[in-house]
Assembly symmetry: C2
Amino acid sequence: MRTPGIGPVTYRQLIARFGTSAAALAAVPDLARRGGGKAPPLRSRDDAEREIARVEKLGAKWLALGQGLYPRLLAELEDAPPLLIAKGDLNLLDRQSVAIVGARNASAAACRFARGLAHDLGQHDLIVISGLARGVDSAAHDGALGTGTIGVIAGGIDVFYPPENEERQRTLYERGLVLAEMPPGTEPRARHFPYRNRIIAGMSSGTVVVEAAPRSGSLITARLAAEAGREVMAVPGSPLDPRAQGCNQLIRDGATLVQNAADVVEAIRPFASQVRSPRAPFEPILEQLNGHDALATVEELLGPSPVPVDEIIRLSGAPSGAVQLALLELDLAGRLERHAGGKVSLRE
Amino acid sequence: MRTPGIGPVTYRQLIARFGTSAAALAAVPDLARRGGGKAPPLRSRDDAEREIARVEKLGAKWLALGQGLYPRLLAELEDAPPLLIAKGDLNLLDRQSVAIVGARNASAAACRFARGLAHDLGQHDLIVISGLARGVDSAAHDGALGTGTIGVIAGGIDVFYPPENEERQRTLYERGLVLAEMPPGTEPRARHFPYRNRIIAGMSSGTVVVEAAPRSGSLITARLAAEAGREVMAVPGSPLDPRAQGCNQLIRDGATLVQNAADVVEAIRPFASQVRSPRAPFEPILEQLNGHDALATVEELLGPSPVPVDEIIRLSGAPSGAVQLALLELDLAGRLERHAGGKVSLRE
């Protein structure tokens, strides 16, 4: 998972096919060559052991997809992170949670609202998840500090961003929980934030957006929550307030308008039973391929426009396992692009 | 229609059965007696002529259900007013309209929003209808003064309520239109306002609520609009603002969230074609009763709980015309109560 070019979906496909990381790592160079590319530069065993030691030294723990306390709802995502690094109270992972997200430059009123909402959700035994950013995120963590809150950060578990939130993050190490997908020491970059947002949305029964500008990161989190089939909720505001536009638009697009914790509790009730229903994260590909090679056919069916994998399987006439293997080969050769909703395209 | 105990629904039934007011008036005493009550005190011809003369002297006009400029959409209501008194520019009645209603004690921001929205709707060739009350109503009329606005008042056409709106009402006589259902000189009472609200909602393709307290008159107007099958729209506000609660609740209940005139125009587009599609307001009851008397059966089927008229017809086994006549008799005898949705019950 630290190999450039191997994302969470590819990782999942590799483990599903080869059973263990060792077998998958051994197979990668051949697969990539067959797909028509160079093998991706694999990380060494030493690198991995160094990172494991560093995480331990930081007092953090690993959470592995499909094992132990790894968040059940997050495991349902097609692109769930194979591993998470966690520092803090791991008991918080076993309870139903709601995300509260919003603008970094939110109004004082919105921050006050987020803090109050987080507090009240805590009174309903819900864990509040947010992104340890400025503004709404910080207010949400503060409001739920007494009852349970999880901060998911875009950089490494030991990196404080924004710097003024260092104390808040340290407080969460002690009295809440901090989660990171990236290796320790990673400074967060713009591209990391959408990845972080999918974890926030994916762990939560629902996402509440409090004050968000149009086209902001909070709306990405809301979209990811909707794609994962979770409840999307938004706090309305006056049309005269430009900071309310994102939320009002979300409501027009079908998000549930929420005004208080009771509204949120009502909206996410259907998810309560799912939090503790485990699901096998790696469905092994049992199908026997009998030497069927679909690579040429699949390559011909693909183009620059994203197409659902199901459609490729149908059009190819090949066993789905053979198509998945061909896609994996193209993927590891750096020639496949994976899109939301299980679509794929060839890279130009 | 000025006879106590004869409401718009009964009026419509009488005209449908007897064809003319004269025939209906002649029949009322017998009908009431058969229904087991006293005849209601009919108004004299002199009374009616005095009122007609007074309306003329005030420079106002009569609008009769099903005739001329009587608003087409309003005519669709089961309880459409048989007559309206109008003072001002009657041309405004022939155009598509939107109601803007809201709190009398609305915030300055909400009034500014209502004024701007009314102005912008006018730019889209829409007439703005409201109730000439304080707050949102006044702002809506002011915003649409240049393009066309109609004030529907709860009292007589010559009565100014609230007093500080006298100048605004006089302005509407000159540059807009004022409508009243009650006779001239009527001081508005609490029970008149819901009647007035049904006219506002009934004339309009949709109703926009701007800032309304829970259980306020504006929410009654919204409910009446929904019952009439019209678009219900609401302007959201922060949950921290108690004055936004009514609108936010409306949106939770399914009203369309609107932030500007474009949102409103989009929402009411489906109604544009209906504004000018006339409909016979009095469908005559053609069925021959052949002396069938359903009174005893209908009376037996009725109780204190409201029941749909359709169900009474079905259970009675009598021709629907005979059931309607029996209901009319009980109604004129003061023994029937008519409810929303075409339901009826016996008075205790």
